[in-house]
């Protein structure tokens, strides 16, 4: 057996994703921008279409057949997310429009009300802007102080620094499960234990982590865990927040509107129980159904084999670029997902991405919504190739070859 083969039948899964068969500029598409957004299997799109064209109505409060069907589908999607994260109860799953909104919700409804000026929120330097700016808003508006935990030169989290950062005024810890630039996976179980020992609640930004790692929120004992649909091979416009019941129960509403109330009068309003309290307005119904189908698809894969395949892709790429002495990889932590970020001598990430693009290879170039991390590594942008289970070893070769050509043109 060829060493470059894995147990995972990648050809079979590729057939599920029509876009992977397309060409760009007359060259086969090599889609290595999965960390920005993943492609969607046809079954997800078909499910959304069949739902919207045969079973759709607005959910809740409806007596009629389609409304009941749609409500079942929507609440069934909630149960699917619950199972995916192993939450105790469906009421612990709040649907949002994405990962960003979920973090904003926690910042506004859980953290802001307990915050006194000077209270601290602990973050790491490798957070995505979506797990930074909501906390900056609390800094600007409520006087919160942001405390930053550094990563080592290889991009791994400094646990001692994390522990040291949590002080008597720390009210919250918000940390990524997996960096979208470095690939670093954080040891959430240890982190949660450490924070809880000091009475601090923890939010994990799982927008990347949940894509690559199995998540068990009960085993982690984590307070909040955030996912986003479009990176999980699902639709845009949908994400979810897991939160412990005890937290949700005492959290104040986020947005106001239909469905999240118990009773409204001219002078007063009382709010519904969770999760409805946090789902104002008509929810992303079709998108929730699509996300559920995506999770079903994902769960039906041999996830261990898929994971091993992704790791093999990454290792292959990592080894190959060692030969480029003009290329510096950023992010070499022992525990990391299949993301390869790098800088090249005298070649700007943007120029590299353009040259790769013309060869069919889609990568991302820029700060990746992680400017604090760029600062940490003394740069403003990197080129990033991020792998999904549907990528192939041949695509890794295409990437490496395209990089060599970029060097030829720009070097």
């Amino acid at each position: 057996m060829n060493a470059r083969h894995t147990q995972f039948d990648v050809d079979r899964v590729r057939a599920d994703f029509p876009i992977l068969g397309r060409e760009v500029y007359g060259k086969p598409l090599v889609y290595l921008d999965n960390a920005a957004s993943a492609q969607k299997p046809l079954v997800v799109l078909e499910r959304m279409t069949s739902f919207a064209s045969q079973e759709f109505a607005n959910v809740h409060r409806g007596v009629h057949f389609l409304s009941a069907r749609a409500t079942d589908a929507y609440e069934g999607a909630r149960a699917r997310v619950q199972a995916f994260l192993n939450a105790r109860d469906t009421s612990e799953i709040v649907f949002t429009k994405g990962g960003t909104e979920a973090i904003n919700l926690v910042a506004a409804s859980f953290v802001a009300p307990i915050l006194k000026p000077g209270d601290e929120i602990v973050l790491t330097v490798m957070e995505h802007h979506s797990n930074i700016v909501p906390w900056h808003l609390l800094r600007e508006r409520h006087g919160a102080v942001l405390k930053w935990v550094d990563v080592g030169d290889d991009g791994s989290l400094d646990l001692n620094a994390l522990e040291a950062a949590i002080g008597p005024r720390t009210r919250f810890l918000a940390i990524t499960h997996m960096s979208n630039v470095l690939g670093t996976i954080t040891p959430l179980e240890k982190i949660v234990a450490l924070a809880h020992a000091k009475g601090v609640s923890v939010l994990a930004d799982g927008c990347q982590g949940a894509v690559h790692e199995a998540v068990d929120v009960q085993a982690l004992d984590i307070d909040f865990y955030v996912i986003t649909g479009h990176k999980l091979y699902g639709p845009t416009g949908i994400g979810a927040l897991y939160a412990k019941s005890a937290h949700l129960e005492r959290m104040r509403p986020y947005q106001g509107g239909g469905e999240m109330i118990r009773e409204v009068t001219r002078d007063s309003v009382t709010y519904a129980d969770p999760p409805a309290r946090f789902e104002a307005g008509t929810p992303p119904i079709i998108e929730a159904v699509g996300l559920a189908r995506a999770l079903e698809y994902l769960t039906a894969l041999d996830r261990a084999a898929a994971h091993a395949h992704e790791q093999a892709l990454y290792q292959q790429a990592r080894e190959a670029v060692r030969e480029f002495n003009w290329l510096r990889v950023i992010g070499d932590a022992p525990q990391k997902g299949a993301i390869l970020s790098f800088e090249c001598d005298g070649m700007h990430a943007h120029d590299i991405a353009t040259i790769l693009d013309r060869q069919g290879v889609a990568v991302r170039a820029g700060h990746h919504c992680a400017q604090v991390l760029m600062d940490r590594f003394g740069t403003v942008s990197t080129t990033r190739a991020s792998f999904a289970f549907y990528n192939t070893m041949a695509e890794v070769d295409a990437l490496v070859g395209a990089l060599a050509k970029a060097r030829e043109v720009l070097g």
Binding site: A349, H350, D351, T354, I355, R358, G366, H367, V409, L410
Partner: protein, 152 residues
């Protein structure tokens, strides 16, 4: 290798980007502005010194960025130096047409057109037009007394 790529990254461009002309600042600048390309995080700062006549007596730029934005800034400083305000604006208009692949027509003088033509390859790369125009928009903002701009 594709022709369009070679045209985008021709020697002149790479040379300008590696050895930018008029790189640096002007202590007694009369106009300054900073530009920012949110797409890639590139920044450019333009310093201008206008003569009492309104001519561009000196121009310099600072910043980091991709080959296209660096080369474009370098070329721009080269070409607008010594020109009047109107000429600079006219050049900008012509340049925008050029990199967007629009009809340039009479907006550029033949010799200016010739000098700027190395940037014409950008028009085949719509996502990179912003890189090419950043320096020009920033210069324009400096002349109009604006503060930080981002490239459109």
């Amino acid at each position: 290798m594709e022709d369009t790529l070679r045209e985008l990254y021709q020697e002149v461009i790479l040379d300008h980007s590696r050895h930018p002309r008029h790189f640096g600042s002007i202590a007694d600048a009369t106009h300054v502005a900073e530009g920012h390309n949110p797409l890639c995080g590139d920044r450019v700062k333009i310093y201008l010194k206008l003569a009492p006549t309104g001519a561009i007596e000196d121009i310099r730029f600072e910043g980091k960025g991709c080959a296209i934005s660096q080369a474009s800034a370098s070329l721009m400083t080269d070409i607008v130096l010594g020109r009047s305000l109107e000429e600079a604006k006219q050049l900008m208009g012509g340049f925008l047409h050029l990199v967007k692949g629009e009809e340039v027509g009479q907006t550029l003088q033949p010799e200016d057109r010739e000098q700027l033509d190395v940037m014409a390859g950008v028009s085949a790369f719509p996502m990179r037009v912003k890189c090419a125009t950043l320096a020009w928009h920033t210069m324009n903002s400096a002349l109009e007394g604006g503060a930080a701009v981002k490239s459109e």
